[in-house]
Symmetry: C2
């Protein structure tokens, strides 16, 4: 699978991450069905925006790219994405780009002109097939700067001749830098070969980027991708989320307001081809739905314990939904149903059928794991060990007080018993008298 | 600064990380003195070991390299290293290597032979100057496979001609792959220019790797590095730590037994040119020394609070030690002295001079920060927020019990007061009656 990754020129906002998450869910679903997955997600480490940012920030373009590459990696990791098999950088593949251009020129599909190299759109009959357009119907690009260099106004640049002050790499046609489209064809061929299964990316990439990738790779004699998947956008006020909306949408800032697992849940729970309108209210609502499921998992696992979910056979309803164009909303309906069953079982208290409870718990966890949101998965639990000692202390302290409350009750000193209960409440501890004795939990803060 | 980074073919053991930590301390010390630091630490993503591992693990060589590149990044990050300005991969710089070889051939310092390209050692008069050897005294390399291709047995490969089944990149002299030495000359020039300040690496790299880098870069007309720094090894039983010693030395495993900040403290506290004999006992001893300093910081900061240490003027004794060839042991003697002063001030209790205490605290923290081991620095405190709520609960619970103990004492019910104290002890809470009232801490476990 090849996924068009980030142009690393800013901290990622929520919209930037959606495609990484959508294809992470696809990866997890394929792995669950025992497919081997090789995922190549590129890093576009040179383009006009990065060069502008470098001038603005007074540091080299590659320092800008490296800085934001790390920011994207951190954001993907915070949101629980399985790291790709390979994350190649565009500028690391000039050799392969030159080879591809040589092949295209040899086959009559590209030409060098004034230091640039262009793809000859008229030479490639199927141009427009992905976006369902005919070359003759396409409008000319308003690229007046390069019009004189092109045979046809629709031709696009494979390689951009060197401009003063810009980084440049040597080629047989002069020094310059990669055009955006070429890098993905070159890297896909290097890492996935002439023919691979799935190519993914955001909907905005269908034309011209993916159309151009197809032209480059197929004109060079490759079969290229068998299937194309495009995710829709995260929108704000109905428009594709944009950097200009400010810092409040930067992932790291959003994660100050909401847990990472809830942000992920929000971003993966819609169908990948549906736009997702972002707001803090929508995040809160979606978070509440998730916490209902999480509450079941926490209560059930306290009773029946945690087991490995690696070999759980996924519910056929969930599978059918996922196999129907990655139908996450329908798959989540199955999750909610099973959680409801589990909660009914939980409410039976001491009469709960532990086998049913365990089966329900592990089914729910296995389904959530496909979406990357099993709250008991290791990646969400890194801080758990740190808290463990403190929780054990609280366990012991609370046990002390409960024992004293029990003694007070036995001595009919109900005022004392109530006082202990109140003092626990003041300390932020809620007591739940269950069949298995009293259990404590930290009360939610009022904010 | 250019630092020879990892050959990414296994999870890092403790010895692999020492050079990253030593040069992180140097970076921090330079930054503290208001130098601008550009740090380039390369990733060697192709070599014989990676290719062998790829065959053994039945996955592509680049998937092996990417996997272990991430493992190294994670280990550096866990140990609190500031990320380098750029982490370039060798295979991403074939274009630059070809240009460098063309220059060397043009100048008569290199030659192509049977698909390989070699550096002509006799052509470079100063060969051996770094390792203080004369070319005529050097033994012939026992490289019988390539002896027939070389003009002189001491000549070394810049480029290795393609072998069947191995990855290869095109060059004017045929397809092949980079020799190890060439990559560092090519990347240093790309990112740091023809002349830069510091080149670092492990002592084992002096010859032949760094000697060959100097030959390549200077013979091509560059000034190359002004200063060379080499760190000594982490040893086990007096020998350089090696992978064959088993998993117990892998960083991730060591971090199951010891906190990251204590492992870092251990690795940076010796002089960088001294070997460091590794053992769990040595780790424990070193950890105890660190916890004494940490205890002072925790107690003092509870009293005088936390301030930014960005503008603290470092003690001149510490500075003098650091400026004398990065003399960390002498610098640490200054830290210990000031901690002792601080502890004396702390012991005065209510009579402590808060100004002295604050000054001492922030001086110690600023010095530790140069070494990357200030326990209150943000990177060591990521899990702090998670624990905060739990600590507040414990605060309130313990306050309840202490109030009850106080009441019991006032009623001369000393049995009851002792019972409460014991029950707290059983819960793992130690009570310390101070001038400012009773304070609790979680007791160390007996293991």
């Amino acid at each position: 699978m090849y996924l068009c990754g980030a142009t690393v020129q800013s901290n990622p906002h929520v919209g930037h991450l959606r495609s990484g998450l959508v294809f992470d869910v696809l990866t997890r679903w394929l792995l669950k069905q025992n497919y081997k997955v090789t995922l190549c997600r590129n890093v576009t480490d040179i383009d006009d925006k990065i060069l502008h940012k470098a001038i603005h920030e007074e540091r080299p373009w590659w320092a800008v790219a490296q800085h934001y590459e790390r920011a994207f990696q951190e954001a993907y990791s915070l949101l629980g994405c399985i790291p790709p098999t390979i994350e190649p950088r565009a500028t690391g593949h000039v050799t392969q780009m030159v080879e591809l251009m040589e092949e295209l020129i040899k086959r009559g599909h590209a030409y060098a002109s004034n230091g640039d190299v262009y793809f000859d759109v008229r030479s490639f009959e199927k141009y427009g097939s992905l976006s369902n357009q005919k070359p003759d119907d396409m409008l000319a690009a308003t690229d007046s700067e390069h019009a004189a260099s092109k045979k046809d106004v629709r031709d696009f640049a494979l390689w951009k001749g060197s401009k003063p002050g810009e980084p440049a790499w040597p080629t047989p046609w002069g020094a310059g830098r990669p055009g955006w489209h070429l890098e993905c064809s070159a890297m896909a061929a290097m890492y996935l070969g002439d023919n691979f299964d799935i190519h993914g990316g955001g909907l905005d990439l269908v034309f011209p980027h993916h159309e151009n990738e197809i032209a480059q790779s197929k004109a060079a004699g490759q079969k290229f991708a068998n299937y194309w998947l495009h995710n829709a956008w995260v929108t704000t006020a109905g428009e594709k989320m944009s950097k200009s909306l400010g810092n409040s949408l930067i992932v790291f800032d959003v994660l100050e307001r909401i847990r990472a697992i809830e942000l992920r849940w929000y971003l993966v729970s819609a169908h990948y081809r549906s736009n997702l309108e972002f707001s803090d209210e929508a995040l809160q609502e979606s978070g509440a739905a998730f916490r209902r499921i999480e509450g079941f998992i926490n209560r059930a696992s306290e009773i029946v314990g945690e087991e490995s979910i690696a070999n759980v056979t996924i519910d056929p309803g969930f599978s059918a939904a996922m196999n129907d164009d990655l139908g996450v909303p329908a798959a989540l309906a199955v999750v909610h149903e099973i959680v409801t069953e589990g909660n009914i079982e939980l409410q039976k208290g001491a009469k709960s059928d532990l086998k049913v409870l365990s089966k329900t718990l592990h089914q729910v966890r296995a389904m959530l794991d496909v979406l990357g949101v099993d709250p008991l998965a290791a990646n969400w639990n890194s801080s758990r060990e740190d808290s463990k000692v403190l929780k054990e202390v609280i366990d012991a302290l609370v046990a002390n007080q409960l024992q004293m409350r029990q003694q007070a009750r036995e001595h009919k000193d109900f005022a004392k018993a109530d006082e202990i209960r109140d003092s626990l409440a003041n300390a932020g501890i809620a007591i739940d008298d269950t069949q298995n004795g009293a259990r404590w939990s930290v009360m939610e803060s009022e904010n």
